[in-house]
Symmetry: D3
Subunit: 119 residues, 6 copies
């Protein structure tokens, strides 16, 4: 593993949980490698935004794009590592209806509700 | 104007600036009415998320969906009312490359850079 | 339940069926509340468009955005409450290929075919 | 010109206006050829849906996908050939907020308002 | 079957495999008819691009739009008929991260990995 | 400039042209840096796909996502550096109608036609 991977891995695990990183590796070790080195090591380490702000931004983006498997891991990581609580996640999904409408929000809330049962 | 509109209007102005609300009214008074009553009065008043967090979520969503005229007003409102500073906006757009790729991020950064020259 | 919810509920049930409204409530009572008050009570009651026209517009939008769980409920409601028949739904999905291509249309037709077996 | 093109051309002109068809030809004669033969001749001639219903579906789809140049021509054709009036177009765009949110609706309404000044 | 369908069918089978064409027919004979006549007969027969180039373009488009059932059939057809090999498909999906981000790429790679086990 | 940037820069210039890379730098030096290091140095150097195949994939993706400023630079780079000729670009855009419909294809063809006048 590269030095950059080692630098980004803790941030990836903070946001996706250890199980989330393992699942991503299982799905594609090459893509995991790139996203940890490029995304988490190079971008998430810029202190202009704290990790809670980055989590909010990521969830907003994934609700908007409808990429639900990733949304699930990012909500799980948020709750597991106390970056956000359930009420914050719900308020965020509700706010998104203004920008992308109700169907995307309902689909996201279903994912969130499933994760909520684990906590 | 309805009571709900009066309740939501200050939050709309906090996020879009007074000129942004005026521009939205000019574009469609009906849509402005609905978004202030439904969005800002009904949803942005839930204290689960503070207004800075809501701003971050909105910008992330608009960068993701590529709705650039609205992105422009939301960045302008963020800087005008000190919800975010320029470095935070830039770090947020850069983070979005992970989730939606570089073309959307470049287009958003161009909008942001134009707004930055006003401040 | 608010007065507005009571006003919008029959229109929500006309379009989604009673089971559809119940499923939406199960998924998120907050989102159902907002969509009934904001969407069905405030917007669907404007007589400029009749309910069949609104149904056509909704299905066209959901086929375009690929939000399939909502498409399923809206097709079911259309057939259940005689807003559209099967041939109209099929012709609408086929027309959409011009505007969004074949993959989205095939995915929508699969959803429609499943609902068709219930009627 | 093929027989199929001759068959589809009046329907293309009904929906886009003669100027709209000319503009499309100017932009790409090959694409115009294909869309008239495949879209208007093969699909719009199915009587399951009348031309007003097809117009509503098309506008809903274009508002949803944010393809604004085509939206402009389709609204112009709707008003020019009395398929829809201004109030119907406005009500349709407002309804779309439920399914795709306010930014797309504002952008569409701006296009519509510009076309409205011609009539 | 029309002459045009007969002309396009071998190209449809080259790209989707015989089972893919059968599955599409099962899903919607009307849509299959149109896509074979309009897409494969009218467009894929233009020699400006060879069939491998067209396959690359299709997979890039489907990864970008996230239309995963079609992506699956197009990857299967690529491997079955030697238009692309596994390494090429993987490199293509990885390249797409630049243009659309990691979530879409991960979802596509999962589809690809499932198809890879058949070969 | 980092070693990785130096490694990726010639590939970025092959695909976007020198003027395209300069324009991207002008728009955002940070984003250019990341896309050259992560995209062109790390991903485009994998020999599984040759540069013409990568160009085809990129144009297909940008036509699909409707990111037109980037499409313009990528078509210009393709013609400038003989990765594709005009007929190939046109055939590719026409093929995309199958997967994403005519509006996106018309918008892309307009961009392409403008670039074609330079060559």
């Amino acid at each position: 593993m590269s030095e950059k991977f080692e630098q980004g891995k803790p941030l990836a695990e903070l946001h996706l949980g250890e199980a989330g990183v393992a699942a991503a590796k299982d799905s594609s070790p090459e893509l995991l490698n790139f996203v940890v080195e490029h995304g988490f090591a190079d971008m998430y380490t810029d202190d202009s935004l704290d990790q809670k702000s980055r989590k909010i931004a990521t969830i907003a983006s994934l609700v908007t794009s409808g990429r639900l498997p990733q949304l699930e891991w990012h909500i799980r990581g948020a709750l597991e590592n106390d970056l956000m609580n359930k009420d914050e996640v719900k308020a965020l999904i509700i706010q998104m209806t203004i920008y992308i409408g109700y169907p995307s929000a309902f689909n996201a809330m279903k994912v969130a509700n499933n994760v909520f049962t684990e906590f």
